[in-house]
Structure formats: C-alpha cells, structure tokens
C-alpha cells in the first residue's frame, strides 16, 4: 500500500462523517431551519453508536442508534423551532454546547477514566478488487458503511432535487406561504426535515466514532460539525455538491500530511489552513454566489406574510 493510495483511501473515509452531517444540515436548511448545533448532534450520535456497539457487538445496531439519537434531537429542535417559534440560533448553540457537555458527562458516567477501544474494525466487502493501482484502495478498499453512506447521500440528493417531497421541502424554506396555500402544514414539513436531517448528522457522528476512529471520546468531533454547517451553505444545500466538497476537503487535509513526508519545509500553521483556503478557492472557482433559502433561520407565522 503506497502513501498516495493510503491518502486517497483515508480522504474518502474521513469525508463520510462530514458529508453525512452536511447533507443532514442541508436538508434542514432547505426547509428554513438553521441548526448551529450539528457538533452536539454528531457527538450524541457518536456516543449512542459506540455504547450500542459496545453492548451488542453489532455495527448495524450502533449506526441505527446514532441515527435514532440524531432523529430524536431533530424532533425536539424542530418542534421548538416551529411550534414554539424558539430562536434557532439559541437552540443551535445550546445543542452544540449542551451536546458536548452531556456526552462528556454520560461517557464518564459509563466508562469512568478509561478509554475503551473497539476491538474489531468493520469489514471491507470489495477488498479483493482493491489491487487496481492508485485508485483501487480508494474505490474498493473501503469499509462497507462507506458505500452505504454514499448511496444515502446520492438518494438524499435525488429526493431534494427531483422528487415531490424535495419540492415541498425547498418551498418550505423559500416560500412557506405557497406550501400553506397547497394545504400542507409548513411546521410539519420542517419538523420532518429536522428529524431526517439530524438523523443523518447523528449517523455522521456514529460513522466518525465506530467506522472511522473506532472509539468515542468527549469532544471527538473536533469541529467537524461546524465545518458541516459551512459546507452545507457553500455546497448550496445540494447533497451531491456537498459530497464532492467533503471529498476535496479530505484530500486537501491529506495533502498536508503528504507534504510533510517530502523534503518541502512548510510551516504546520500554513498546512492547517490549506483545506479551508482550498475550499474558498473552489467556491470562487465555481463562480456562483452562495444562495441561502429565503426564510432560513426565521420562524414561520401563518398569520403574517413576513415569514
């Protein structure tokens, strides 16, 4: 396994939690909900998944637990943001801070001062076909959930872009009165979007904990949730574009590691900035402004036309 092959493989694996969380956030944003608490949701999903795998020794159960944790938080967030018109900014920040604190507390309660690690890694179903030079490992050497995650994002992209449900979702964010006029309850649409979106964010946290690193630790996400929010915005809430950007982000991070293995002497601080600078360049190169849903972050009041 060469350095280049390893970097390409790792870039795809590390893109999975990010693209799931960003896609989940994008679904919420499309409906008009801005959740700044993705970091907390990912941590909750990660902890739930780790404990579930620890108890059941099943990755499927773990991933399901992560998604359920995310969906439950999404339900709470959606209800508070719509039925009670609570400030989405306050709710989101509360989720980010509360999620970090609560998961740290629960982890300590359960595991004390130890740091358990998962004994077994996830299987790689297409490992036999990974001998193709350079891209073989990246395409066929991945753990099975990577393929599921890609399918989920492709499906989410299709639903958002092409389906009637996606049309309603987008309308709930851009023109909620049109949705209401069509006889559909905007709040219900947004709550369902929050649930499904945060289920994906929870699944992203689960993927990080049990698929990518193989353990949970307080603060494990180290800012991935916040990067996911930015990615959802610069990816114009399009899951397919988000997936590509997440992969580019992973590749740029890997490039920093590769550079350090060469004779080039570049300061670490500069290498740290590289993925972010690269993303900004990409956004500029794409040549189109970031467009946000018209009512993003605003509560919907049926009585007033001002969203």
């Amino acid at each position: 396994m060469s350095v280049l092959e390893t970097l390409l493989m790792a870039a795809v694996l590390s893109a999975v939690p990010l693209m799931l969380a960003a896609t989940g956030e994008a679904i919420g944003q499309r409906s008009g909900l801005l959740n700044l608490g993705v970091e907390g949701v990912m941590l909750a999903g990660g902890l739930a998944a780790f404990v579930a795998v620890d108890l059941s020794s099943s990755f499927v159960v773990g991933l399901g637990a992560g998604a359920c944790a995310g969906a439950s938080i999404g339900l709470g967030f959606g209800v508070l943001a719509t039925r009670f018109a609570a400030s989405q900014i306050v709710l989101g920040l509360g989720l980010a801070l509360g999620g970090a604190g609560l998961t740290g507390f629960l982890f300590r309660e359960r595991y004390g001062l130890t740091q358990p690690l998962l004994a077994q890694g996830m299987e790689r179903p297409f490992d036999g076909a990974a001998d193709i030079p350079v891209v073989g490992l990246m395409l066929f050497g991945q753990k099975w959930f990577v393929y599921i995650a890609v399918c989920l994002v492709v499906l989410a992209g299709y639903l958002v872009r092409r389906s009637r449900a996606g049309l309603v979702l987008r309308a709930a964010g851009d023109s909620p009165f049109a949705v209401e006029a069509a006889g559909i309850d905007v709040s219900t649409v947004r709550i369902l979007a929050a649930m499904s979106g945060q289920a994906l964010a929870g699944l992203g946290g689960a993927a990080l904990a049990i698929v990518e690193v193989g353990f949970f630790a307080p603060g494990l996400t180290v800012g991935i949730g916040f990067i996911a929010i930015a990615l959802a915005m610069i990816g114009r809430q399009d899951p397919w574009l988000i997936a590509i950007l997440a992969l580019v982000f992973g590749l740029l991070r890997g490039a920093g590691t590769a550079i350090q293995l060469t004779d080039l002497r570049i300061q670490t601080e500069l290498l740290d900035v590289m993925p972010y600078a690269g993303m900004l360049l990409l956004v500029v190169a794409l040549g189109r402004r970031v467009r946000l849903p018209a009512t993003l972050g605003l509560a919907y009041h049926r009585e007033s036309r001002g969203a």
Partner: protein
C-alpha cells in the same frame, strides 16, 4: 480638628497594616496546606498530560490527607473566571497544568495573592507566589530512540505529534538523536497532525496510516487524546498484517499498559508528577515556595516504561548502557524547545545522514 486627624491616621493604618501583613506573608510559611486545585485544559480521561497530572495530584492528596479539586476541560482560553472561583473557595495552591496558562496564572497570582504553579515558564517564578515545573523528557526520549533504532525491521520509524509545544519538541529532538546515535541509517519521518490537535483523533489516525504506508514500523506518538487515533490506526494495520509486518507504538506521559493498547505498546516515556507536587506543597509549608522543579531522568520524574512487548536482553542491555551514560553525562542530548529550531535540527541530522 483632632477628630479629622484621628480619622486620617486610622485610614493610613487601614492601608498600611494589610500591606505590611501581605509583604510578610508573601515569603512566609503557610502553616499547612489543606487544599490544592489543578486546572487542566482537556478531559482527565485522555490518559495523557491532563489525566496524569490530575491522577498524580489525587494520589498526593490521598497520601497527605488534603483536599484536591480537579478542574478539567478548561480549554486554552483565558481561565481567569475559573481561578477566581477557586480563589473564592479558599484553595491554598493552584496548579495551572498547561503551557497555555503560563501568562494568565502568574498574573493572577500577583493580583490576588494566591500561590500558583505554572509550567514551562521559569521566568515567571516569584518568591512565595509562583513556582514552575519543567518536564524535560529529552533524555528518556533519547532512550526510546535507542530502543526504536534497535527494534525497527524496516529501517524507518516515525514521530507523530499533535502540536509543537516545548514538551513535545524536547522529546522529538531527544528521540531522533537517540535513533541517529544508534543507527544513522534509520530514517525518521516527522509529521505534525495540526497546530494544537491534542484531541484530534480522526486526523491522528489518518496521519499514522500514512506514515505506516511510508514504511514506518515503530511510531513514537505524542498526542494526548489524539494518541488513541494513532493506536487505532496501528491496531487496524496489525489485524491484517503478518507477524513480520506488525507496527509498534511508543507512547508518552501516561501508562497504557493496562489498556486496550497494551498489545502494540513497545514502551512509553512516562511522566510522574508526584515528586513535583509533593515538592511544591512542602515548599509552601516551609516558606520556600517559588522555585523551579525539573522532572528528569535523574529524579525519575520521567522514566522509560518496561517494554510491554518481548525485547531481547541484548537490546535492553544497550538501552541500559545508554541510560548510565546519560546519568554520568557521557551523552549530550540536545534540549530544543522551539519548533523552528527543531526543524533546523531535524534537517541537519538528515543532511548528516546523507
């Protein structure tokens, strides 16, 4: 008129008396230390810098029968509110257990008159108020380097760090020098996960996978929480690799020999703060607080963990030989705290090897 004079005198006394008391108290003995607090930047379950500092203090507290308060996850920002809270609780001594606190804590000690311990800032030492501890583990890291050079099968070892603070830099320089002195042909890969990536396990894992792909079969990892990302990368590699392709890990600070990482742990540069914490409490009680305590090979504040994986006697004899040479001063290990100096040092060794 005499009333006015009396009031002025009383006010003057009111100002002078506390000042006189304070100047006397600053260098005097504290009858007994009843409570000590430690502020750590990250979680105390990271089995690294934070946990080792807190656990050592709790052990000291238990042995001496004093109250210990651990404030964890304090972060790397301004910790003044935490310090104010601890001072209000009346703790006798506060240990600021992070190089990031080396400015805020001495300032707070001067302002509030609470004795404090800082790290990596000997210039901040003030009699009766501020003490400092230095963890110069370069000599023990040198021994780890000797062991790594003797144990590598691929001829390539790696250093993976979660940042470039002085503590990590000292050990990197020592380790690389140890490798170089033992076998100049052994290649050392040096990789930084991030600027302050102490808990960045996902990236630690990716970086470790990369250095393994580049041929390293021994990874000297300095990461705190990020170390577990390195360990998982090695575990996953080892699960698929043959007996001759197993990668081994050299850890720092905490003892992971009882953890899930035990099967791949070659050794560890262990930090034991017990001696330092006891010394500071003794100093405070004796009225000699305000010193620099250096944890080193000689006082065993830093030592090498017995190899957890079978290593032959001849190899261990060479490591012991190097240890004795270090103790008598026959081997000089560079003390490099600065990241730029470290880069220049690594480059000079590389050029020398070529």
């Amino acid at each position: 008129m005499w009333i006015g004079t009396t009031i002025r005198l009383a006010m003057l006394l009111g100002l002078l008396l506390p000042a006189t008391w304070w100047s006397a108290a600053a260098g005097s003995a504290q009858e007994s230390v009843d409570s000590v607090a430690i502020v750590i930047p990250a979680s105390r379950s990271n089995q690294g810098w934070d946990q080792q500092g807190a656990d050592s203090l709790e052990a000291v507290g238990e042995a001496r029968g004093i109250d210990i308060e651990v404030v964890e996850n304090a972060g790397y920002e301004d910790i003044t509110p935490i310090l104010l809270d601890l001072a209000a609780d009346g703790v006798d001594l506060i240990i600021c257990h992070a190089s990031g606190y080396q400015t805020v804590c001495p300032e707070f000690a001067q302002r509030e008159g609470v004795p404090m311990v800082v790290t990596e800032n000997p210039d901040a030492v003030v009699e009766g108020l501020v003490s400092d501890y230095e963890t110069q583990a370069h000599q023990v890291a040198y021994l780890a380097g000797v062991l790594a050079a003797l144990e590598t099968r691929t001829g390539t070892v790696a250093v993976v760090v979660s940042g470039e603070p002085p503590t990590w830099n000292y050990m990197t320089a020592g380790f690389v020098q140890g490798v170089h002195d033992t076998d100049p042909e052994v290649e050392v890969l040096y990789n930084v996960i991030g600027e302050a990536a102490y808990d960045d396990a996902p990236n630690a894992r990716r970086v470790t996978e990369t250095v393994i792909a580049a041929g390293a079969d021994i990874v000297f990892g300095m990461g705190d929480g990020a170390s577990f990302g390195m360990i998982q990368a090695i575990r996953e590699h080892n699960a698929d690799a043959g007996a001759d392709e197993q990668v081994r890990f050299i850890d720092v600070i905490g003892d992971k020999s009882d953890s899930d990482a035990a099967d791949l742990l070659l050794t560890s540069v262990l930090f034991d703060y017990t001696g330092a914490w006891n010394q500071f409490i003794d100093d405070l009680e004796a009225g000699s607080f305000g010193t620099v305590y250096t944890m080193d090979l000689e006082n065993e504040g830093v030592r090498l963990l017995e190899p957890q994986i079978e290593v032959d006697d001849a190899t261990m004899a060479k490591v012991e030989e190097a240890r004795q040479a270090l103790l008598v001063g026959d081997i000089d290990v560079p003390e490099i705290a600065d990241a730029d100096e470290l880069a220049a040092f690594l480059e000079s060794l590389e050029e020398g090897a070529e």
